[in-house]
Amino acid sequence: MSMKVGSRQVDGVTIVDCSGRITLGEGSVVLRDTVRDLLAKGNKKIVLNLQDVNYIDSSGIGELVSAFTTTKNQVGELKLLNLTKKVNDLLQITKLYTVFDVKDDEASAVKSFK
């Protein structure tokens, strides 16, 4: 299953609902293009809802890092929401859990933006 995304606005925060796989190829490109489009349109408070992302490889991890740094470089903030156990474990193993701001419920994720 390839990756699908849909975005919505909640109190000035863009929630990007992701589903499927973030892997080398289409999945990584979809994520990259989505974040770049949001930033280009001035949406700089971004939450990636990964609740339905069932698989991610090292390229997908790289895309998450790229999305995080690209947003930060444009004086924005990108947070992660609702990690599956698999994705959570990968972020723990790679120590990226210490880098990302990870939330487990949408309301607190939205409120956490300054």
Partner: protein
């Protein structure tokens, strides 16, 4: 691969489809060999990362170069070999992805993940490129949460 079979190998193109195919084959074989769900995921991800290295960094998508993928059960071990026909890999040039200065790099985690998920990871030059050997013990300890050094 049925339990009674000892070895199966595939010659694959240097394409993105090969990466997905290698992962799928690993999932099927690991499941048939009786690994648990978490271990199946670890094996399939390690194979995927190995295939990515072979297709991208080894063969660089060259249409005339192949990836040889083999699965073999030897005793209580699943031995997976991935060979490419590329220029080879200098392990000394691969930085530790856990080092603070490397945490925000967008690549360089593939071999680390393989080492995290498999019992043995060997990378060495072959006659035609690079040979990667991945070993998972059939009745070995669950590797979940194990953290390997680079």
């Amino acid at each position: 691969m049925a339990m009674t079979e000892q070895r199966v190998s595939y010659t694959l193109d240097s394409s993105l489809e090969t990466i997905d195919s290698a992962e799928e084959k690993a999932t099927i074989i690991a499941t048939e060999l009786g690994f648990g769900d978490d271990e199946v995921m670890q094996i399939s991800m390690a194979v995927r990362e190995g295939a990515v290295n072979a297709v991208l960094h080894g063969n660089a998508y060259a249409p005339d170069k192949k990836v040889i993928l083999a699965f073999e059960r030897i005793g209580e071990e699943l031995v997976i070999t991935i060979r490419d026909q590329g220029k080879g890999l200098d392990l000394s040039k691969i930085p530790n992805p856990l080092a603070p200065e490397n945490l925000l790099k967008t690549s360089g985690r593939g071999i680390f993940l393989m080492r995290s998920f498999m019992d043995v990871v060997e990378i060495r030059p072959s006659q035609t490129g690079t040979e990667l050997k991945l070993i998972k013990r059939v009745h070995g300890p669950t590797a979940g949460g194990k953290e390997a050094s680079q």
